[in-house]
Amino acid sequence: MERRDRYSTGPWHYLWWLVRSQWRRVLLGALLGSTWMVGLTVPPLVLSLAIDEGLEYGLGAKVWGWAGILGGVGIGIAVLAILRHRTMTKVRIYAAQQTIRAVATQSIGLGSSLQRQAAAGEVAAIGVSDAWTMARSLTVTGPGVGAVVAYVVIAAALLRISPLLAVVILIGAPALLLLLGPVLNRFRIHGTAYRKAEGELSGRIVDIVSGLRVLTTLGGKSLFAERWEVESDLVRRTGYRLARTESWIRGVAVGLPALFLAIVMWLTARMTVQGDMSVGEFVAVFGYVAVVVVPVSFFIEAAIDINRALVSAQRTSRFLSIEPLARGTAPVNDATAALSDPGSGLRLEIGAFAVVATDDRHQAKAIMERLAGIETSDARWGDQPLAEIDPTVLRRAVLPLDDGDYLFAGPLRDVVFTNGDQGDAERERVAYASGIDEMLRGFDDGWATPIAERGVNLSAGQRQRLRLARALAAGPAVLLALDPLSAVDAVTESQVVERVRDARRGLTTLVFSSSATVLAAADVVHLVEEGRTVASGTHASLVASNGRYRKLVSRNTSEEDETSR
């Protein structure tokens, strides 16, 4: 598969893919970067010529001429510099967004299996930091290439003046950079430790802020202040270690070119005294070598950036190479047949409003996931295994509803109507059936009210009804709902249950609940204990005939009933 080749072969390949995807722009960046950096060596040359040829005549035509050239070259370099910066900025922006889009596409493709196959938090972090870390490392393709070119050009220019100088420059820098290698490695390790400590500290304050209500009402502030102090000190200490390593890198970045400059000046001064070189040439050499600062610092930056980018690319390519689980391809053979889950012995007849009576959420959830075909199992629709059915088709027909279902940000209208707005009548129908009508009346902006990510600007009861509204609006043939009204008051619960029942007349609905209100509204009730269906019937008949059912339902309402029976 082409996709596989692209991502799974490791971090280098991923970075290379980012480069290849916009190779024209990258090439332009390299060209501009090289020209610009080589251009930096021109002013020293012009200056040296001006000194050698013009200065002795004072402010004459020659100096005016050289000054004009110097100004022109300066402006030319300024233009090259900004063109390079613009190109490279675009390279970085597009590269980062390319990663973000790839991660989004992969997440969408993985769908409900993402949580099983990857840590969502880590994946989301790719979009926040990794994408940009990798993008920054692409700087190496522009000014990085330019730095190498400029370095060689400077050495070549010195060769013309003195082969000895050229050798010093050519050998010296790579040798010292090699020496710096282990330091760079330590720098990466300490850097990772520092960012980790800082990230954990950030997590700690997020935790404290989220739980601030608890701390204000119950106390424990000093406990958390102490924890914070310890962790904050750890950040400082890891920071100290990082600074120790980084300071050597910074020192070398400044000191290495200075050392070259000193050695080269010494040699040139000797040559000038011996008459092998003019004063102007001396200035030119000084100028060239002073320019070396630029490529050397680019080399160091690039080494650091790539080091970091590889870690990010590793994480990214690992996520992108996850294969979606095998999926069925068949259509639904017989939509009028009953759904069955051999795991629990549950059979769901089409067209009924059924309730599974259980106190055990985990078991209820497991049954729901099997019946919805999300968890692979031997659950069937008629004789057809759910695993054979094309998930896209199945999802439209069988929809599980659960408090964990994510609520996306957006206007209320878009949050509820996932298939697009269906007009006023449908809006009213859904609002009424799900009980969000009351909440809507409280919103000044009605259907345009903005809902925050995860619905955090709503109460738990409101979020529940909003999820219910979204599920009702989707209008699946079979709706499986896990305790969808557990967070609303009894009156509202009984109202909404009736309305849902009416709204879904002719369709199939299965609710998992132990609330008497819900059970009383059911056409058929299945009592599930320890994951197995142990009895089925109407609420009334089960109350009359089944002691354990009675116990389950009555525990719900009063203790005396439980003890009296």
Binding site: I100, I108, G127, G211, V214, E229, S232, A258, V283, N556
Partner: protein
């Protein structure tokens, strides 16, 4: 930014910021002196080579010997080695100074956050608080530990360069300044626009990351509701917006950078022309002129560093203002009462309450809560039950009327005093990312393990015994433990803190109905002689309560025990019937 207007947290003024920065620096005076000292030496060393080049040239033109040149050469090499070592050390000192400043800043932030008054905490826009304590704080500490060292050295270097040029030739220093006059002008232009531009850029990043995070975390919902196309479109749209914001700042830089670069070139040209004229007039030596030319060229390096960081510095100052603004939040707290409650009697007298600019939620509530009773408050969603709970524990103060605890206005009690008398447990509980022990100990730091276990079993959390690590199990808001377990931990906390009055606001709503009423009742027995006020939509508990208050439309409509209220055939009976699954 929009958060600020919504949240009500203040933003520090310039003068407050100055004082705050002064405090931070004064706390570590020697580090500050070292930082400045090393920065100055490093900068000065970088200026030595052109100076010496000028001297050498003058010596050579004056006919110096090879031995003299060698002496200068040796000095040059020595200086370069010194430069490497000292600039390394300078970076180290400055980075450490920055790290210590950051640590001190973080300490003051956490102190401020932890000392925010309850009323503000409860209403606060957590998002804004989150941004201030994470993003803003990191931006400030980032500047302290990375930009500050570089900027400091660069600024000193620019200043020293001008000083050196002026020492060599005052007229040429003036010419240099004239040549570079364009830089402050274009920088002013840039900075005026940069703040908004980079804010928009950060916002664009944030919104794109948020969309991706939603897509990743909501991947299941994307599949279930067929939202693939919509999520793709959202990402593409936000990516385009983010790009547009980035291109906007790029346009700003496209003016700034060429203008600054051209200014360097202009200054160099002007110095060359003026220098040639002065050289001819014998007003400047060749060596000095060359040194000055080299200086002018060299100045672009540190100046660029300063200019590049100016924008980050600007946004860091804005962040610093938000961080320091938290210090102003507790000023708004009304002076706490010094009176101590004379007893556990909680009395609500003619209380009405309206949220700021909102409708009146509670109307003329009168309620005498008897010490030691179990009172259940019921009513439909939105009837005002939770608001009453917040008033009872003093998070909010009534708009009119009074709520007194032993004769003292509850909302005026200092937090510590109030906490020892009344505790509130709500539906929205928080588990700290820490051990179960820490999560419990926060309510009573000196409790022993036996007491912790006892509290946990009193709230029916027998699952604790099944955990391999027991009390040392690390929990957090998002994983491992279900909402029900989190609520049990929250309830156990209350038992440990052992106040006279406990208000449970839907505190067991996430437990299965059966265990909810079991837990509530076991709480009642543990808190036997305490007052327990329970707010619930599940009526199981109401049946055995001493009294039930039925709230509707912000008023208490019915008050009495289960049998009395059923006999009234009113609201309570309707609720009870609905709850029973019977006719209504």
């Amino acid at each position: 930014m929009s958060h600020q207007s919504e949240s009500g947290f203040p933003i520090a003024s310039r003068s407050e910021l100055g004082r705050a920065a002064g405090r931070l620096v004064r706390a570590d005076p020697w580090m500050f002196v070292f930082t400045i000292g090393f920065g100055t030496v490093t900068a000065a060393l970088a200026l030595a080579p052109p100076w010496l080049a000028g001297v050498v040239i003058d010596e050579i033109t004056g006919g110096a010997s090879l031995a003299e040149v060698d002496r200068y050469g040796a000095v040059l090499v020595l200086l370069a080695v010194l430069q490497l070592l000292i600039s390394r050390y300078s970076f180290l000192v400055t980075a450490r100074f920055g790290l210590r400043l950051s640590q001190r800043l973080r300490r003051s932030i956490v102190d401020r956050v932890l000392n925010l008054p309850a009323r503000i905490v409860d209403k606060a826009d957590t998002g804004d608080l989150m941004v201030r304590t994470t993003g803003d704080t990191r931006r400030v500490t980032g500047i302290f530990s990375s930009a500050a060292p570089e900027m400091l050295v660069s600024i000193v270097q620019v200043v020293l360069t001008f000083v050196f040029v002026a020492v060599l030739s005052v007229p040429l220093a003036i010419v240099t300044i004239i040549g570079m006059l364009g830089i402050p002008l274009v920088t002013r232009w840039y900075l005026r626009r940069a703040a908004a531009g980079y804010l928009a850029e950060a916002d664009g990043h944030g919104r794109l990351a948020e969309s991706l995070s939603g897509t990743v975390n909501g991947a299941r919902a994307v599949e279930l509701y067929g939202l693939q196309r919509r999520r793709q479109d959202d990402i593409v749209r936000r990516a385009a917006t983010a790009r547009a914001a980035q291109f906007a700042t790029l346009r700003l830089r496209s003016v700034l950078f060429p203008a600054v670069d051209s200014s360097y070139a202009l200054a160099l040209v002007l110095v060359l022309l003026a220098g040639a004229w002065m050289y001819q007039a014998n007003a400047v030596a060749l060596g000095s002129l060359i040194a000055i030319l080299l200086y002018v060229r060299q100045m672009s390096g540190p100046l660029d560093v300063v200019l590049l960081w100016l924008e980050s510095l600007q946004s860091a100052i804005a962040s610093f203002a938000r961080v320091e603004g938290l210090a102003g939040a507790d000023v708004a707290n009304p002076t706490p009462s010094t009176a101590t409650p004379s007893g556990p009697r909680l009395a609500v007298a003619d209380v009405s309450f309206a949220y700021e600019q909102g409708p009146t939620v509670l109307h003329g509530i009168d309620l005498e809560i008897r010490p030691g009773e179990n009172l259940v408050i019921v009513g439909a969603s939105g009837a005002g039950k939770s608001t009453l709970a917040r008033l009872l524990v003093g998070i909010e103060a009534p708009t009119s009327g009074s709520i007194t605890l032993g004769g003292v206005e509850v909302s005026a009690l200092p937090l510590e005093v109030r906490r020892s008398h009344i505790a509130l447990v709500t539906q929205e509980q928080h588990l700290f990312h820490d051990t179960i022990r820490t999560n419990l100990l926060l309510a009573r730091p000196d409790a022993e393990d036996g007491e912790l276990h006892a509290a946990m079993s009193a709230v029916g959390a027998h699952w604790l015994d099944g955990l391999p690590a027991g009390l040392d199990t690390i929990v957090s808001q998002h994983d491992s433990l279900s909402g029900a377990h989190a609520q049990q931990i929250a309830l156990a906390r209350v038992l440990l803190s052992d106040p006279q009055t406990v208000v449970l606001d839907e505190a067991t709503s996430l437990l299965t109905p059966g265990s909810a009423s079991t837990v509530e009742r076991s709480l009642w027995s543990v808190l036997e002689d305490r007052t327990v006020i329970t707010i619930a939509h599940r009526l199981a508990t109401a049946r055995v309560a001493d009294r039930i208050a039925v709230i509707d439309g912000g008023r208490i409509r019915e008050l009495g025990n289960h049998e009395e209220l059923l006999r009234r055939r009113g609201l309570y009976m309707r609720l009870w019937n609905a709850w029973q699954g019977g006719p209504h």
